[in-house]
Symmetry: none
Subunit: 195 residues, 4 copies
DNA sequence: GGCTAACCGAGACGGTACGTCCAGTCTTCGT
DNA sequence: ACGAAGACTGGACGTACCGTCTCGGTTAGCC
């Protein structure tokens, strides 16, 4: 609505400009240069307004991430398991390495290594949901009979997305189409055992 | 040697107590509370002595990591591929989650998400070497004929260790023996294609 | 009367609880810790209510002072100049150092050193009246012939109360009966010249 | 000397520019607008440098006062008591109302009304010394026989300077030559009793 | 055996950001 | 129309570390 700043709750305008500023500054300067003061200045907001609603800058980022990342990253549904997976893993890799939201995720995942509470929030707020989406193609394949009933889908998800995250977060190797093909071939030809 | 305030190069004692202090403080307080001033105070060393030899606190950690982590994490050589891999992946998981050196690695990997230069140094100094060690069992298996010649060992390594790192760094799920078994079974029954 | 959030003018209850809270907080925590927010919280009143009726916290104090100080400090009328003055100066000293109203006065006088506008208001609202009361015994003494007609009563007042204020506000020396005796003796034996 | 900033003690340059900046800002903006941040900015000094050496802004002022006020305000020695006192009281009034150092004193005296610790320091550091100087002309007059031996000089000092401080700090009335004459006449014709 | 160079500790310095407090303004609801 | 509530911008607070610096002390290695 309008900028209220009164007893009926917080200003939606302030909230939005803070999240936007945090997003922009992260993209421009990186996480190390992201400060509450910087966000406040960029958002045209008083520092106290940020501290009133967010305990720390990572909480701001968590909200910013929720804002602009919620929609994406749902695997396609082509009717064919291998195609679904190939398409999804490629778009996942592009998302993580090439988008602003992906940059926010990487920053949060990095910071989560230093902060167990953040790690817990990140898992609860985002990763659980994402893994549910990740399972979609596999569940459909089971329903179609492409995968044997009783396949351990959790492990299968890890075998598919694990190497992608590993390359992006750890080794820095590129996630190529060939690489994705290998992952998909291995998982569709030798799915994981009974759950 | 002894603490030499002299002209013959740096004090080995100061160097060691700095690395030790950094290690200890990381373990006790976490990365966020790790400061140059804190390390200096704990090590009984002047700040300037740290700045003289290390550009930043992550460089101190990098050295500390090199110090106490160099030896470990060489996969066993049992003569059997699956046993080698199972043993290695379990010990890798224990190392990452349960040891001080693993904690340093996780902190560095986390920080590397915010700092491309650190990421590059981490890869160059440690990850490359570690991946060479990771390839050992696979190379021996190729030599024994357990794996077809021409198998793409890089991808195979990613398929094996990727899910382990993913669970530890991202989802926080436990790396169980069953999970490792699945990874190993999938990779030994359906190895990756021609390199 | 009752608390009227209504259209009938300001709430006398709110006004009183604000002045009372200001008084209490000054006595408890001192001037430095006296804040509008603190007064509002203590008075159970909204900040805006204070800002609506008083421009600043010193204006609140000025009103609080007017409230509980108006009555006192009228010199006695014993029919004898020296007795009047002795009694008055002692009670003045006790008032300034020992009463809540005196504490408010000292705070206001202190603040007036930094704020000429406050100094002007303080003089206009209170000091002028007080000096008129101060002159009472002297005027009666002139009427009785105890003092020569044409004596400069303004200077005489300054010579009597000046040293008392000076000791209390500046040097912190105690105002003893002996000290007051000396002041009175000096002024009754050698009154000031023609005005 | 030079700006050290090392183990051999504080930087004289920083100290001086802080005191100078505090003095200037007090004169320009007044006590209310005098902030540590403002002093630091004006002095070209880091805030921490001020906090390292002074507990509060009033301590800075106390030092600034000591710096530029130590010399002045010694009563003249004309060989005649009345002349000494007249000259001194007039110069005291001019000092308090017209000089930068006097403005600092008035600010400190004002603040001392809110802060007993400051009051104590102000008395100990400055007022005691000043009162010793104040007694000078009276002691010489006793030595010359102008005043009876055994006169209570403390009370006499209060009777002389008390009304001057009172007019300047409290009532705001001007300290005229006539007023000073009256004070001096009263004190030289009717000095205070045995000490 | 004194001179000198390189490194040591200590710690003051100019800065930046922190997280908090309060000032003073505003808007809405309830009475 | 006024009061209670409370969110807002703004600015100073006092603290923690940053990275730089200068100093005096210590200890080789050299003349």
């Amino acid at each position: 609505m309008n900028h209220r700043g009164n007893r009926h709750g917080r200003s939606e305008e302030a909230r939005r400009s803070v999240l936007r500023a945090a997003d922009d500054l992260l993209a421009e300067k990186g996480f190390a240069a992201l400060t509450i003061e910087g966000i406040a200045a960029r958002a045209g907001v008083a520092k106290q307004t940020i501290y009133r609603w967010w305990p720390s800058k990572t909480d701001v980022l968590l909200d910013a991430y929720a804002e602009d990342a919620a929609e994406d990253l749902t695997p396609p549904d082509t009717g064919n398991l291998a195609d679904d997976l190939r398409g999804y893993l490629i778009s996942l890799a592009r998302y993580l390495t090439g988008s602003d939201a992906g940059a926010v995720f990487r920053a949060l995942a990095g910071q989560a290594q230093h902060d167990p509470a953040l790690a817990a929030r990140l898992r609860q707020d985002h990763l659980t949901r994402q893994r549910a989406r990740d399972r979609g193609p596999l569940e459909r394949a089971v329903a179609r009979g492409e995968l044997p009933a009783g396949t351990d889908l959790e492990v299968l998800v890890d075998r598919l997305v694990g190497p992608v995250y590993y390359r992006i977060l750890v080794t820095g190797q590129e996630v190529t189409e060939d690489f994705v093909d290998e992952l998909v071939t291995a998982c569709t030809s030798a799915p994981s055992a009974r759950s």
